[in-house]
């Protein structure tokens, strides 16, 4: 199923399709990672101190979800343009691993701790880990092109 005539994929044949899909990918991960960063900044005690982490989480979670939906959809489109190449790319494999870990972490531990208005120490740990995971996803996403 992954082996097909790649020229039939419009991302490979149309001049604008691939860069445009990437632009959607970038904007939507800015939305997702940015909203997560907003909550994490509060968990780390570095910003938005007039709100609780739970309030910030509730206010941003829909936007995070919207960003995830678009980022995964555009990511699948980009993947479809050259599946075998991406599957064999170590940075891509690392990115998807980190992405899955990040998604699970975001909707389990991160969500629970943010909503429970944690103590500063626990909040800093959970928020810090979250930021590190998502920054690793972005980093490895770029490295796909360099290895």
């Amino acid at each position: 199923m992954l082996i097909y005539d790649l020229n039939a994929n419009p991302l490979n044949s149309n001049e604008w399709a691939f860069p445009l899909t990437e632009c959607f990918h970038i904007t939507s991960f800015a939305l997702s990672v940015g909203t997560i960063a907003l909550v994490d900044l509060r968990l780390l005690g570095l910003g938005m101190k007039h709100q609780t982490a739970g309030q910030l989480y509730r206010d941003t979670s829909l936007w995070t979800l919207a960003g995830f939906i678009i980022v995964i959809f555009s990511g699948l489109l980009i993947f479809s343009s050259d599946p075998i190449h991406y599957l064999y790319n170590e940075a891509f494999r690392f990115k998807i691993t980190a992405l899955v870990i990040g998604l699970i972490y975001n909707y389990t531990i991160h969500r629970k701790v943010a909503l429970s208005d944690p103590s500063p120490g626990l909040g800093a740990l959970v928020g810090g880990v979250s930021l590190v995971i998502w920054i690793l996803v972005v980093f490895s996403g770029l490295w796909i092109a360099f290895i």
Binding site: C23, L41, G47, L142
Partner: protein, 198 residues
């Protein structure tokens, strides 16, 4: 001093040459640039969505703007520093690239946007909040600032991505001279030595 010679002089500076020819340094700088777009660009996006009244509406504009202001500034410094290193180290490739040029123009527009809207919106949030409490929504100047900011920043990100896709127009290569007797190809047939099999 043509643009070409100035750009070549810039990119020939020692540490910029090192960055350009490095194995890991250039991608690391670019990845930092991208990660700061994700984290801090996201904060810019959320501020704009708040100004449009679409997100975090239960939090006052003052709290949103002030709460992340320091981090947006730190992020801006990181983004611009990494961007400068990336751009100047590959100046020869970029100075003629229209997407790079548009991106630089849009970055200038960020300054113009700040000059116009900082006194009216970003440093005026208490008054805007008071008006929102009275009328139920933020005044139009907030929406104009938000749309301007969204257009500029999304434009910057997209132009940045598109830089890599620009192909400078190249004159067509001269035909390779070939002895007619050895020319086994039919007229018009492709001269590839192999057929690519996918």
């Amino acid at each position: 001093m043509s643009a070409a010679s100035i750009s070549h002089a810039i990119q020939s500076i020692g540490f910029l040459t090192y960055i350009r020819e490095s194995g890991y340094t250039y991608p690391m700088i670019m990845a930092t640039h991208l990660a700061s777009i994700a984290v801090f660009g996201g904060l810019i996006l959320m501020t704009d969505l708040r100004l449009l009244g679409l997100a975090m509406t239960e939090i006052s504009l003052t709290d949103v703007v002030r709460g992340v202001r320091k981090w947006k500034r730190i992020g801006f410094v990181i983004m611009v520093t990494m961007g400068l290193l990336l751009g100047t180290s590959e100046m020869d490739k970029y100075y003629g690239n229209p997407y790079f040029q548009i991106k630089m123009f849009l970055i200038l527009m960020v300054g113009v946007h700040a000059w116009i809207f900082r006194p009216r919106v970003y440093n005026n949030t208490e008054a805007l909040d008071a008006e929102a409490r009275a009328t139920g929504h933020l005044p139009r100047v907030a929406r104009v600032a938000a749309i301007g900011s969204l257009v500029i920043w999304i434009g910057i990100a997209c132009c940045g991505r598109w830089i890599a896709y620009f192909q400078p127009p190249r004159p067509p290569a001269p035909p390779i001279p070939q002895t007619a007797a050895l020319d086994i190809h039919a007229p018009g047939m492709a001269r590839l030595p192999v057929t690519w099999i996918r």
